[in-house]
């Protein structure tokens, strides 16, 4: 108990919550940009144009077939080199900015598949009925297919959000001070890692369980109108 009170000073708690906030910021931004990429990716993968369709497929394949840690390091360590090659100037990357870019691109590949499979899971009778009524492809998408897909996309998107909260911890390896890094820093200060890591776990759990709680509520609400 004594050891707990050593850690639980207002400064330490504040430091850790600041880290937690950064984790949430990374997750929210990545979910946002990843969703945009996912919409584009899904549109590409369902395109009638073979080349665009192939681009979508290659994107998903590369991102889902390589480790996320590698992708983050690639942008953090490789990004400046490419930048220098292209623009001839040196710059020091901000780990948060690079991290959000890398995680967004990663999340976008998973969102691409979520969105595509939700759209394609809509019964083919829905497409046929819309066609038979004379709707154009755009109207079909906007009025019939997407509203129905949305309900199916929502639950996996919420799990994606939870995954992103946890994956943001990978940024501790490039020096971004998010929740996991803040625990490591505290651990180093006190030569005791167990307590701060447990504290970080509690904060992660509070965040992920809160999201799950609201997700369940929302899902039940949506199921009612079925």
């Amino acid at each position: 108990m004594e050891i707990l009170s050593v850690f639980l000073t207002p400064e330490n708690i504040q430091y850790m919550l600041k880290g937690a906030l950064m984790s949430v910021v990374v997750a929210v931004c990545s979910l946002f940009f990843g969703t945009i990429l996912g919409v584009l990716g899904a549109a590409a993968k369902m395109s009638r144009n073979k080349f665009i369709k192939m681009l979508g497929g290659v994107y998903v394949q590369i991102i889902r077939g390589t480790p996320m840690m590698l992708q983050i390091l690639f942008f953090y360590l490789g990004g400046p080199v490419i930048w220098k090659f292209l623009f001839g100037r040196v710059f020091t990357p901000n780990p948060f900015v690079v991290g959000i870019i890398a995680i967004s691109i990663n999340s976008g590949a998973y969102s691409t598949e979520l969105i595509r499979s939700a759209i394609q899971s809509i019964d083919k009778g829905q497409w046929e009925a819309s066609k038979a009524l004379g709707l154009t492809y755009k109207q079909m998408m906007k009025l019939v297919i997407l509203p129905q897909s949305f309900k199916r996309i929502l639950p996996p998107f919420i799990s994606e959000f939870i995954t992103l909260i946890k994956d943001s911890s990978l940024l501790s390896s490039i020096g971004a001070v998010e929740l996991l890094t803040s625990a490591k820093v505290l651990g180093a200060n006190y030569y005791n890692y167990i307590v701060p890591l447990c504290m970080a776990s509690v904060v992660y759990l509070v965040m992920t369980m809160t999201i799950s709680y609201f997700a369940n509520k929302l899902e039940r609400r949506l199921a009612e109108s079925d």
């Binding site: 019964d123 009778g125 829905q126 046929e128 009925a129 066609k131 038979a132 009524l133 004379g134 709707l135 154009t136 492809y137 109207q139 009025l143 019939v144 509203p147 129905q148 309900k151 109108s225 079925d226």
Partner: protein, 247 residues
């Protein structure tokens, strides 16, 4: 011009190895009520799906109201579909919309009607199929028979010139078939042009001005209901009738 509303001219549709429709020609005049009968897999659905472009024929032509359908042209297909109402075996109502919204979606977005006009027409037609009290329900809250009546009303809202029915009662519980046939019977008595793919031989006999018998992708025999049901000529039709009428 004649009053020929649909002309199918030498249409063939092949799926992989199956000739689903094999060089079929058919002429439908305004006011005709044509039933298409035949064994399972004989190409009945494929034929009427070609007529409104849900399937694209591999060869042959289709004319709607004297105009040749250009299957490669989406705009042309959309225009042509406005003249055709299609009723599906599995209703295909939009589950995320209320009954009324199901009926007004296409009139508002495709025909450009105002919301009030579309609603007023939808309510009149719902009343006709006896479901005005269900206008704010969702499809999931309806019985199969009610769903199919809504689907018919949804087509009526587009005021098409001809109706295609693909086994409209095959997915229904027996006690609900009657209510859907009654609605169709009423359409028929008003002079609506209809093509009906059906296994309801009694109904086909009662309402049809012409009956078409298909087998293995071909039209084997066609004629008046009496010709087909009471004086079948071909061995294939005789065999088919003896099978379905016995069961």
């Amino acid at each position: 011009m004649t009053n020929e509303i649909i002309k199918v001219d030498g249409v063939t549709k092949i799926f992989k190895h199956v000739k689903a429709v094999d060089n079929v020609s058919l002429s439908i005049k305004k006011g005709d009520i044509v039933s298409i009968i035949g064994p399972s897999g004989s190409g009945k659905s494929t034929l009427i799906r070609c007529i409104n472009g849900l399937e694209i024929p591999d060869s042959g032509e289709i004319y709607i109201d004297g105009e040749k359908v250009d299957f490669g042209n989406d705009k042309n297909l959309e225009q042509m579909r406005l003249k055709i109402g299609f009723v599906f075996q599995h209703f295909n109502l939009f589950p995320h919309l209320t009954v009324l919204e199901n009926l007004t979606l296409a009139p508002i977005n495709v025909l450009g009607k105002s919301e009030e006009d579309a609603k007023a027409l939808a309510e009149t037609l719902l009343n006709r199929v006896g479901l005005l009290d269900k206008k704010d329900s969702y499809p999931a809250q309806l019985s199969g028979g009610q769903k199919q009546r809504v689907a018919i009303a949804r087509c009526l809202c587009m005021q098409p010139e001809v109706f295609l029915f693909d086994e409209p009662t095959s997915a229904l519980d027996p006690e609900m078939i009657g209510e859907v046939l009654d609605v169709m019977q009423e359409l028929a008595s008003e002079g609506t042009t209809m093509i009906i793919v059906t296994h309801e031989m009694g109904f086909a006999k009662k309402v049809s001005s012409r009956v078409v018998f298909m087998d293995k992708g071909e039209i084997v025999e066609q004629g008046s209901a009496t010709d087909i049901f009471d004086h079948p000529q071909s061995a294939r039709l005789q065999e088919f009738l003896s099978k379905v009428l016995r069961s």
